[in-house]
């Protein structure tokens, strides 16, 4: 009953609906159920999608000040700064053109060699330009939202990169936006290959690196690892999700004896994780099918039979 107001007729004596305590019990049980459905059973997606549709106009409205500030910042930015940026971009473009000429040549050569060897030709991955809208609020996770979604053909699992390297992966797709988990998120892993040694490994996010800079960590590296500081890691492509050859990170520190018998290898993402604004969403390349399946099944079956033999 509102204290100190004269607005309502006095509340009815008996028909007051369920008490606050019973409401709390029912609703907190519902919340717990939702959490279990969301984490363990992955069944809460329809509810999340429909609520996201209902929330979309509000989000659009709340984003308008941000868009206005960005737009006015661009509009009012000094001519000198714009010209400087243009000069830098032009220099970068010249460098890229030179590289692109080599790449064209190599791609042609590669295509011919692959035909000679009877290998399947590598398909160029589809990509879409997008813009990062905002970071998600959870301080324990590193996720951002981009401005394209299901209606633009974005699929969950797509790689996202900025102009320098892989930035993350699309983990949730809504109608008009998508959620990207950055590589430096503690739960994110990416299969990489060391371009110098050809060594394959898995890079995990390490969000609480020293000096506030988020890093990546190569786990399960043998203590006699050949990795050296300065090596460049690219996607290996064996996961069937990321196209091979995208630059990911550069090794920053190698400690040969880690706490758990493995070497500790830290790498710094090449992408500008905290400053990227314009990104490219690259479709997953799709799993290699047909021919490889029996071989993979045989490889899987091998250790099992060994284990059951004795």
């Amino acid at each position: 009953m509102p204290l100190g107001t004269i607005d309502q007729p006095p509340p009815p004596f008996f028909k007051q609906g369920p008490s606050a305590l019973s409401r709390l019990l029912v609703l907190s049980a519902l919340a717990l159920l939702l959490m279990v459905l969301d984490t363990r059973l992955q069944m809460a997606a329809p509810l999340r999608q429909s609520l996201a549709v209902a929330l979309a106009p509000l989000q659009w409205l709340a984003l308008q000040p941000l868009h206005a500030v960005r737009w006015s910042g661009q509009y009012l930015g000094s001519l000198e700064a714009a010209q400087r940026e243009a000069a830098v971009a032009r220099a970068e473009l010249v460098r890229q053109v030179e590289r692109a000429a080599i790449v064209e040549h190599l791609a042609q050569e590669n295509r011919e060699l692959r035909t000679l060897l009877g290998l399947r030709e590598r398909l160029p991955a589809q990509s879409r330009a997008a813009q990062i809208l905002y970071q998600l609020a959870d301080p324990a996770r590193q996720r951002v939202v981009i401005n394209i979604g299901q209606q633009d053909g974005v699929r969950a699992g797509s790689a996202v990169m900025d102009g320098f390297g892989v930035l993350g992966q699309v983990t949730r797709v809504y109608w008009g936006s998508a959620e990207v988990t950055l590589l430096t998120d503690a739960r994110q892993a990416i299969p990489v290959i060391n371009t110098r040694t050809g060594q394959r490994s898995l890079a995990f996010g390490l969000p609480l690196g020293g000096a506030g800079q988020s890093r990546m960590e190569l786990r399960f590296e043998p203590s006699a690892t050949q990795a050296m500081v300065g090596d460049v890691l690219t996607t290996s492509g064996i996961d069937g999700v990321y196209p091979p050859g995208l630059p990911v990170a550069q090794i920053e520190q190698v400690t040969n004896v880690g706490a758990d018998g493995f070497a500790q290898v830290l790498a710094l993402p090449l992408a500008r994780v905290d400053h990227a604004l314009h990104v490219l969403v690259i479709d997953p390349v799709g799993r290699p099918v047909a021919n490889d399946a029996p071989a993979a099944a045989a490889a899987n079956a091998q250790p099992r039979s060994v284990r059951t033999a004795p």
Binding site: P2, T5, R23, L24, A31, M35, T39, D138, P139
Partner: protein
């Protein structure tokens, strides 16, 4: 009804104003987070503050159910575990219902102390859920959020009760 002698007699609350402030604060908080705060752990949860305020002042209109629904919306907006904020807001609203008769007898400092406990509990619940789901250790900055919210309680009282403090029949010659 026994009222605190400290409490002025108020006009009826306009339901449009109640829902308008809840939606407005939701919008404002989303805009603030998206534009400025990012994933800062110390950011105050203004929606929780407004919600607690209206539960204390209008418990027959705004209650546990409203907290649950707003919590679900925040969960979807933040991409958090579905039900994390819903649980925290439900518990907070329930406790606000429990203390709403007592709270208004205190002056603003003690009121802020009372609601501080609600906010601390709501944040602790969220932290617990996240820890159980497997991410995030304790972060000292997280303690800042409930402190902020409690510090903003007097401001919320001043702003949100302002429409009810006007005179019933405005008269230019009369003070008040």
């Amino acid at each position: 009804m026994i009222m605190s002698p400290r409490q002025p007699l108020l006009l009826p609350a306009n339901p449009v104003f109640i829902w308008g402030t809840l939606v407005g604060v939701l919008l404002f908080e989303m805009a603030l987070q998206m534009a400025l705060l990012g994933r800062a752990a110390w950011a105050p949860d203004l929606l929780a503050l407004t919600l607690a305020f209206w539960v204390v002042h209008q418990p027959r209109r705004v209650g546990v159910g409203v907290g649950f629904v707003l919590g679900l919306l925040i969960d979807v907006h933040q991409g958090a575990l579905l039900g994390q904020h819903a649980l925290a807001y439900s518990v907070m609203c329930y406790l606000a219902v429990v203390i709403h008769r007592r709270l208004l007898w205190f002056d603003w400092k003690r009121q802020a102390l009372h609601v501080l406990m609600l906010f601390v509990l709501a944040h602790a619940l969220q932290w617990l859920v996240r820890a159980l789901a497997g991410d995030g250790g304790p972060d000292l900055w997280m303690l800042m959020a409930p402190l902020w919210q409690a510090a903003l309680w007097p401001l919320a009282t001043a702003l949100l009760l302002a429409p009810q403090r006007r005179a019933h029949d405005p008269d230019a010659d009369r003070p008040l």
